[in-house]
């Protein structure tokens, strides 16, 4: 079982975000980065699938700038066998389709049995890369997955639907799945894992190596803070809040 997991590096969750001076993305100068959380779950699922199959290979693939190598190392430390780093300095300028083309080109060369991605990224949040990858690779797919069961050449998954509904779907392997957060408990990298990660293979590729160019379907006009549609009354003390709860909301 060869499983490819697409991982993305995103600004850390509690980052203070401001628009960059050109107004097209965020100012990255003081940001810290981490693995996109749904991708961490995709990686976890891949590792557990490999473990329960008693063998196979988990390959992490990441398109991103040089700094993304820390996220790749983390994936290797957690147990991925090797990684592919598609080095793209201006990844924020690439639209979802172009990013998926990069990943698809790298994936094609590996012919994996299964491709996993997180269901969306915490930064752009388009939720598309997995689905687009499936189309580019000519593979069946399913999204927002809470459970994966492999049975021979078939995979049966549990999809999350709106309002607490679920559905099982089966499809032939190879397939692409986008994984929902919470599918399994995440592991931490062990000291041993971190040590071992240093010796694992990371293949570096450029968009040119893969024969992919950025052909955007849209351009960013501006990035800005949302306009507030509602006037939240900001309170400054707990006493003020207690007063509102007592006299206006009438719950005390």
């Amino acid at each position: 079982m060869k499983i490819l997991v697409a991982i993305k590096q995103v600004p850390a969750r509690d980052s203070q975000l401001i628009a960059s001076t050109d107004g097209k993305w965020v100012d990255e100068s003081s940001l810290e980065y981490e693995i996109n959380e749904p991708d961490a779950y995709a990686l976890e699922e891949a590792l557990q699938l490999k473990e329960s199959a008693g063998g196979g290979e988990v390959i992490a693939v990441c398109a991103g700038p040089d700094r993304a190598s820390s996220t790749i190392r983390e994936a290797l430390a957690k147990g991925a066998d090797r990684a592919i780093h598609i080095e793209v300095e201006d990844i924020a300028n690439w639209d979802t389709l172009s990013v998926a083309k990069l990943l698809a080109a790298a994936a094609k060369a590996e012919s994996p049995d299964l491709v996993l991605t997180g269901l969306q990224s915490d930064d752009v949040g388009a939720g598309q890369v997995g689905v687009v990858l499936a189309e580019l690779l000519g593979l069946p797919h399913a999204t927002i997955i809470m459970e994966v069961v492999i049975d021979g050449a078939t995979v049966r998954v549990k999809r999350e639907l709106e309002d607490g509904w679920f559905q099982h779907v089966s499809m032939p392997l190879p397939a692409v799945l986008t994984i929902q957060s919470g599918i399994k408990k995440l592991r931490y990298a062990t000291l041993m894992g971190i040590k071992r990660a240093k010796t694992k293979e990371v293949k570096s590729l450029s968009p040119a190596d893969l024969g992919v160019a950025n052909t955007p379907s849209y351009q960013v006009v501006s990035v800005m803070l949302p306009q507030k549609s509602k006037q939240t009354v900001m309170l400054h003390t707990v006493a003020e809040l207690v007063d509102k709860l007592k006299n206006e909301v009438r719950v005390i």
Binding site: A126, Q128, P140, L241
Partner: protein
């Protein structure tokens, strides 16, 4: 110019919002509006093949979708077939002359980006609340049958009955990732106890197993409409908001002044919850005695 195609989803309220958007854009861009609402069991392969055929036949300029889970499952694939990227979960559309601009959220609502599509056709999915719903349903075109599907779906189902019914609770104290660690939940429990409130949470809290899944509020959790919803250390991502924005009064405690939760809150305290919550619990206790 051959028009706009609105692809609706049966039984989804947001479909009527998408229809309203299509009509509004149709009027502004002077394009005819076509509507299709597939009425057969969904699979991604089937919907993609059939819609691709329809779009090719009539060479539509603009294809609009409601941003449902189903649309998330196939629309990016469909757009790819036309070598286009879907512009997803759009919250606002603006027309300037013959140009269309779409606003979508970045970083779970902390920032917005306005995008201008380059080339055609344009594929857009609309987030709930972007438009007021259209009043009347539209006549729909039939969707041509397509080839076979690799996905074999089974019956939809709901998990066993929930033990906790948050929909009936008059007061809900809801906690998000700002609480940092499971051990800190006792702060929230104390506050809920003095208020006689039920405890709820955002998804990551339940994903971590700190609270049971049945206490999750949002698009994949419960929908609640209490008299008071106290949102503590919760950013207010759209998937959470859809589950609680019908609450009568919303109070948010968050240290980030730009947290999207302040978009829907009636009252806000912008401060560290570890200072505010214990003080609030003590003050309510005092006010009650």
């Amino acid at each position: 110019m051959s028009g706009i195609l609105a692809v609706l989803e049966a039984g989804q309220k947001i479909s009527l919002e998408t229809l309203a958007a299509a009509r509004d854009l149709g009027a502004k861009l002077q394009l005819p509006v076509h509507v299709v609402e597939p009425d057969r069991n969904y699979t991604a392969d089937d919907y993609t093949d059939s819609l691709a055929q329809l779009i090719r036949e009539k060479s539509f300029d603009l294809i609009l979708f409601p941003h449902t889970y189903q649309v998330r499952d196939f629309a990016p694939k469909l757009a790819t077939r036309f070598d286009r990227a879907l512009i997803s979960d759009v919250i606002r559309l603006r027309v300037e002359g013959a140009k269309l601009f779409a606003t979508r959220q970045l970083f779970q609502g902390k920032l917005n980006a306005e995008l201008e599509p380059i080339g055609k056709p344009i594929f857009l999915s609309l987030q709930a609340g972007a438009y007021a719903p259209a009043e009347a349903q539209a006549p729909t075109e039939t969707l041509p049958a397509a080839g076979t599907s690799r996905q074999k779906p089974e019956e939809r189902y709901r998990e066993a009955q929930r033990a906790v019914d948050l929909s009936a609770a008059p007061i809900i104290v809801s906690v998000g990732r700002g609480i940092k660690e499971k051990e800190n939940l006792s702060l929230i429990e104390d506050l809920a106890a003095v208020l006689g409130a039920e405890i709820a949470a955002s998804r990551p809290i339940c994903d971590n197993g700190w609270l049971p899944m049945e206490r999750q509020v949002g698009s994949s959790g419960q929908t609640v409409t209490p008299k008071l919803y106290l949102a503590i250390g919760l950013s207010g991502a759209i998937q959470h908001l859809v589950g609680m924005k019908g609450s009568k009064t919303i109070v948010a405690i968050n240290k980030d002044p730009n947290a999207p939760i302040f978009e829907v809150a009636d009252y806000g305290i912008c401060d560290d919850l570890f200072d505010v919550v214990p003080a609030l619990t003590a003050a309510i206790k005092a006010a009650k005695s």
